[in-house]
Symmetry: C2
Subunit: 258 residues, 2 copies
DNA sequence: TGCGATCAATGGTCAAAACATTCGGCCCAC
DNA sequence: GTGGGCCGAATGTTTTGACCATTGATCGCA
């Protein structure tokens, strides 16, 4: 590349005068317009978009391109399609699992180190415990109690995927005690990453999970945040260690078989 | 609906024996297989998927359906398509903006209350400041310093969208001082929501933003986390108040014009 | 009145063709 | 020999048109 070409490239990337030449694909216009309309409040959950054939005409593009836009919007959790004469494309109510999925994907792609996730999880959980110690009602505690009891019962029977999913439920309930949707969502997202790793590396459920949780719950009921945080931190770090070992073992196993 | 029909519906929804009858659309198989392959580590960033025409044959579905799957994967930030003979569909490296976008969408859809976002933001920022006070290097501080200087200069000239985007940069740099990707990502996501609201309700940039930030930076350099947290908390709460008022004014304005 | 058949609107799928982009390689002129 | 233009192959992009499948409303008949 010549020097001037390099210059132009830098300009194209950085300057506001030269914008990068990028062929916008047809469906991107629809995607953007719908997304903006939602952001502006012009489209609200429950609202219906025009029929596919109609949108194709309105935007002046082929129906297939409209459908590609709809698939992108659907993957973003913004719309859903329903069949039949009363069907159509509707704006969805917000779905937090989209965020969990996105974060999990990031982890799958290796963009989030295990260390960062662990650290963030400890910090977030600590905050949540602190808030829960202030705000949680006896009803919140009772939900945690019931969940632990259920975990105890379930640990006696064999279980795979449902089991690890249930294990994550504890953190969801704990976060819910803060009555803050954002914190619940973030907690679920980070839990989800661990959930996936547990299923991959082979779940070796520790038997004393219920015991640890009972101790934490007791600290919570005593409104002793520091002790609860210490307990959960130790637990999370130990879990990470177990996970790393299981993953290492799995890797060796794979290397041996290939 | 008869009683037995209702029973079957409940069973179909809750039981693991009866699974809900749902017509899986063709593209969903591809979407899922690619996503699983990424989660399992069989597909890594840079890897190339078969050509569209080829995938259509492999999976036994029409090419258009393959494309719909690709659009969904693309919206999820997992793949990107490149044109030309050396093009194709490639697994992307993880892109944190997908998460920001998802969280912003949730807010747009009304699934996240402003109060929750504010509270979560204060908590998260406080944690970050605490960590930054422990870990930040002089280089990190210098970056913040430069950013504040830039903000000062920019505040003299008029600016719209770029301006508010630049205002958010401060939090990004601050979070980066923790050297934890997850915290950076979460910070960006919550900032993004406020960024959007600022642009909608009309940015009325307060002139003393730079002053507040200078004070915070001084506290950071003094490794005085508590004072920095107090300062940023006050600022964020004040910003929220201003935002709510601006939104209320905007709403009245709209009501009057219609 | 009830109920089954039919119809219409909608999303889901398929097929075929043409278009646009990119890059490697070939060939020609200098 | 070398530079530059032309061409072709592989790939994603877009269009057109047709048909299928689902769902609810409507009509007609008993």
């Amino acid at each position: 590349m010549t020097e001037s070409a390099a210059l132009f490239q830098r300009q194209a990337e950085n300057s506001s005068i030269f914008t990068k030449v990028q062929t916008r694909r047809g469906f991107e216009y629809i995607y953007e317009q719908v997304r903006n309309a939602v952001a502006e409040g012009q489209l609200k959950p429950g609202d219906r978009l025009p029929a596919e054939r109609e949108m194709a005409q309105i935007f002046g593009i082929a129906r297939q391109s409209v459908r590609e836009a709809l698939r992108a919007l659907e993957a973003s959790g913004l719309v859903e399609s329903r069949l039949g004469v009363t069907g159509g494309v509707f704006i969805r109510t917000g779905d937090p699992t989209v965020v969990s999925r996105a974060i999990t994907d990031l982890a799958s792609l290796g963009a989030l180190s295990h260390a960062s996730v662990l650290e963030a999880r400890i910090i977030l959980t600590s905050d949540i415990i602190r808030m829960a110690c202030e705000r949680a009602t006896e009803e919140d505690f009772q939900k945690l109690d019931d969940d632990i009891t259920f975990t105890e019962q379930q640990s006696k029977t064999e279980a795979g995927l449902e089991r690890t999913a249930q294990i994550m439920e504890f953190y969801h309930i704990l976060a819910s005690a803060t009555h803050n949707e954002v914190l619940v969502m973030l907690t679920d997202s980070l839990s989800q990453i661990v959930h996936l790793r547990l299923n991959r590396a082979g779940p070796k459920p520790s038997k004393d999970i219920a015991k640890v949780r009972r101790r934490i719950l007791n600290h919570l009921r005593a409104r002793d945040a520091d002790k609860a945080i210490a307990e959960i931190t130790r637990h999370l770090k130990r879990l990470e260690k177990v996970l790393v070992e299981a993953e290492k073992a799995k890797e060796l196993e794979l290397a041996a078989s290939s």
